[in-house]
């Protein structure tokens, strides 16, 4: 890239120049302001956690709601098992999966028994909580988890970066490899952007392929 003169701001621009100045007060980060309920949760492993302190803060999170009973109608946990396979390596250190039951009958002991039917790598927890707490959480994440005790397992998966506060969503029945790729999007960058000329991301040279993007591969 040829370095150009720093462009002058147009007349009337409302950009506030911070060059050479201390940061203005308070520059609070833009935020949603929606705190997580720091509810206690009980895992299929017998462990007990606080939602925010132990499970969200500083982690890449994949979270969905389910019920054991609902798996016959819609096998969301089987889908999540496929996603977990593609997250292997990152699971348990950087990325964590939380499957939160909305059925009060899904006790930790029952969850343990249920989890044994699946390949559950380190970093994937089946969780339950007091009914009012699960309700508080599912209200906050997704009002539509229609029926807090019901037979329906929602399709929605929330994924995000708990440290940064950036969240997206996908369907649990999405392509599992692609779901794992999405989770990588929200990971905190390791170090600053490399100095020097910007790198070309695309479009790539034309070919006969019909991939889902035009990026350099």
């Amino acid at each position: 890239m040829i370095e150009q003169d720093k462009p002058r701001l147009p007349e009337g621009s409302r950009r506030i120049d911070t060059n050479g100045k201390a940061e203005l007060p308070p520059p609070a980060q833009a935020r949603g302001g929606n705190a997580f309920p720091n509810i206690p949760l009980f895992a299929h492993t017998g462990e007990r956690f606080r939602l925010y302190e132990d499970l969200i803060k500083d982690r890449i999170v994949v979270l969905h709601f389910f019920t054991i009973r609902g798996q016959k109608a819609f096998p969301s946990v089987r889908h999540m098992e496929n996603i977990a396979k593609h997250l292997k390596g990152r699971l348990g250190s950087e990325v964590f999966i939380y499957s939160v039951s909305q059925d009060i009958r899904d006790t930790p002991a029952r969850l343990k028994h249920f989890a044994a039917r699946y390949e559950v790598p380190k970093g994937w927890y089946f969780l339950t909580a007091l009914p009012e707490d699960v309700e508080a959480l599912s209200d906050r994440l997704q009002r539509s988890a229609c029926n807090h005790r019901g037979s329906h397992s929602p399709r929605m998966v929330h994924y995000g970066n708990g440290g940064v506060g950036m969240w997206g969503a996908f369907g649990v029945d999405s392509d599992p490899a692609f779901a794992a790729e999405r989770v990588s999007w929200v990971a905190t960058a390791e170090g600053p952007v490399p100095a020097g000329a910007p790198r070309r991301a695309g479009p790539r040279r034309l070919g006969n392929d019909f991939a889902h993007h035009n990026r350099e591969t």
Partner: protein, 584 residues
């Protein structure tokens, strides 16, 4: 052993998850009790009409030699056929932007934009002439901080820039998967010729905005939007043009793009997005006990109306004609806009000026201007209008008013029209220095609809599935081709809203469509919808049949809901233009 009830359940589930659902899921599972942030924690007050309108500068081209590496024709379909007339470099950055001069807004709001401004600079791009001169090439460089360092914490610093309504190939379109991160750039080639080389297909007012898969709503909300205007020998950007056939529409400083975004701010004047971003102290009790903080999938409404990212601005206008290019930039609000004058001439005289000469729908010039008292804009819809302030006297105030009430959760209008409504901005009338501009009698005819070109009919049903938004029961999967359309053919698409409570502004990329019928009836000729369109506001239970064509390029594009919160929650399909004989 499966019981009879289980079998029934499986049956129901497979109806919901494969193909077109038999019943609207919406009626079964719609959330209740959602309380968005603008209700429980309104934005700090800001005195209206004390901030002047921000007028975006016209983007300035750079010499070809400024692009290093140089543009690579092998990366763009038909590049050599359509060499660009102008080259640009645009840098995507994070900065503090002042939405309003009063505290707390005066200290600046962390925003995203282009070369230090939001909306970004306005591109003026010429249609190619007989000498094949026209079009543009834009290199966009992502200079945003990487994930974890961005101050607009809700947005993803990996972007893709879509030129909305542009007739450009897939690789320059800014489709959701063509993203580039901090330290990367993307080249966009805008060939700028009318579809099928038919002058009736020319486009006029376009806008560019982020289109990142899963993150379009927060990224546009953070500030990634701007205008691109197309000109030709008729719409020539010169109100004194004496050439035969020139429209002489108001030009220069009398041609003003207006980008509407409604924004929610916190008490520090920072932008709020309604999802569960942790606060500095995440165990803080909510300000309203037992309030429903919730991740929004329905929509995002702001309680501060901004025009060109200024809260309720004023704009000095001479007592003459102006052309305004109004875009509803979203994320979710629908508007019904009208004018209300506070005039010394009295109500009856003022009433003559309180009207729009509508020039375009969705940025496409109509066959002839239509006089309307009000215009409706779903998200991403545009109208170019002329307002003739010569009906007013210097010192008069004219307000742009929105009278459409939205559902509190942002999923669509309630259907009610408010008496007072929201004052979006104020025009302050000053003396005129003359007005050579004209309102033309004729503009662009509609291209004919030829049913012999139709190869296929398709039905798309827009519905809701427990927090996610579906098309034919499916969620967006960029790896799945939902329609393989043969190049050079037309199709009839039916869009059906299965929900009875919300609206979807549906947008399809690349070429415009015309409405054949809406709920079984044709569109009357003097309706603004009797036009070339690229966004259609699909109201509750609406069903609309469209005539659509695909020409000139191959490749992948998308069709989606432009309530960008619905889009991010998967209400989108990928369609591909494929060579003849390879369609589905």
């Amino acid at each position: 052993m499966a019981t009879r009830r289980d079998v029934l359940k499986v049956g129901l589930a497979s109806a919901a998850y494969s193909g077109v659902p038999k019943t609207a899921q919406s009626n079964l599972l719609f959330p209740d009790g959602f309380l968005p942030s603008w209700i429980y924690d309104p934005s700090p007050p800001a005195t209206p009409f004390v901030a002047p309108l921000f007028e975006m500068p016209v983007a300035q081209p750079v010499p070809l030699s400024a692009l290093n590496p140089a543009p690579d024709p092998l990366r763009h379909q038909r590049y050599d056929e359509f060499p660009p007339e102008k080259y640009y470099i645009q840098r995507i950055q994070e900065f503090l932007w002042q939405y309003h001069p009063e505290p707390p807004y005066n200290q600046g709001t962390w925003s995203w934009g282009f070369d230090g401004i939001t909306p970004g600079a306005t591109f003026h791009v010429n249609y190619r002439n007989e000498q094949n001169v026209g079009g543009a090439f834009v290199r966009r460089i992502n200079e945003l901080p990487p994930v974890g360092s961005q101050r607009a914490r809700f947005a993803l610093p990996s972007v893709t820039l879509h030129l909305h309504n542009g007739h450009q190939a897939s690789e320059s379109d800014g489709i959701p998967m063509d993203y580039f991160g901090p330290g990367e750039f993307w080249d966009h080639h805008y060939p700028t010729f009318p579809a099928g080389f038919d002058d009736r297909e020319k486009l006029t007012t376009l806008w560019y905005h982020d289109h990142r898969l899963d993150f379009t709503a927060p990224n546009v909300y953070a500030g990634l939007s701007g205008f691109t205007l197309h000109f030709d020998e008729k719409d020539s950007n010169d109100e004194t043009d004496t050439r035969a056939g020139a429209f002489r529409l108001p030009s220069g400083k009398y041609d003003v793009p207006l980008m509407l975004h409604d924004v929610k701010f916190d008490q520090n004047g920072q932008v709020v997005w309604d999802f569960f971003t942790p606060t500095a102290d995440p165990t803080d009790p909510p300000p309203v006990p037992n309030s429903d903080y919730s991740y929004t999938v329905n929509g995002m409404l702001g309680d501060r109306f901004t025009v060109n990212r200024t809260i309720q601005p004023y704009f000095r206008v001479e007592a003459r004609k102006y052309r305004f290019r109004i875009v509803n930039g979203g994320p979710s609000r629908f508007y019904d806009l009208s004018l209300r004058a506070d005039s010394r001439l009295g109500r009856r005289r003022a009433r003559r000026g309180e009207r729009f000469y509508v020039l375009s729908t969705d940025g496409n010039l109509l066959p002839h201007p239509l006089i309307k008292r009000h215009i409706t804009l779903g998200v991403a819809q545009r109208h170019d209008v002329i307002i003739d302030f010569s009906h007013f006297r210097p010192g008069d105030h004219v307000y742009l008013v929105n009278r459409l009430e939205m559902r509190e959760d942002g999923a669509g209008p309630t259907g009610r029209y408010l008496d007072e409504g929201d004052l979006i901005m104020r025009f302050d009338v000053i003396p005129s220095e003359g007005d050579p501009s004209r309102i033309p009698d004729h503009m662009r005819d509609l291209p004919p609809i030829n049913f012999d070109e139709v190869r296929k009919e398709r039905l798309f049903v827009f519905d809701y599935d427990n927090g996610l938004w579906t098309i034919n029961g499916k969620l967006m999967d960029p790896n799945r081709v939902d329609a393989a359309i043969e190049q050079g053919t037309a199709e009839i698409w039916t869009w059906r809203n299965a929900g009875n409570a919300w609206s979807h502004p549906i947008h399809s990329h690349f070429e415009e469509f015309q409405i054949l019928e809406r709920n079984g009836k044709p569109v009357p000729p003097y309706d603004v919808q009797h036009s070339r369109k690229d966004v259609l506001a699909l109201g509750p239970n609406d069903e609309v049949k469209l005539f659509m064509r695909w020409r000139d390029f191959l490749g992948k594009h998308v069709m989606h809901c432009h309530n960008v919160v619905h889009e991010d929650h998967a209400m989108m399909i990928r369609w591909d233009i494929v060579p003849p004989g390879q369609g589905d």
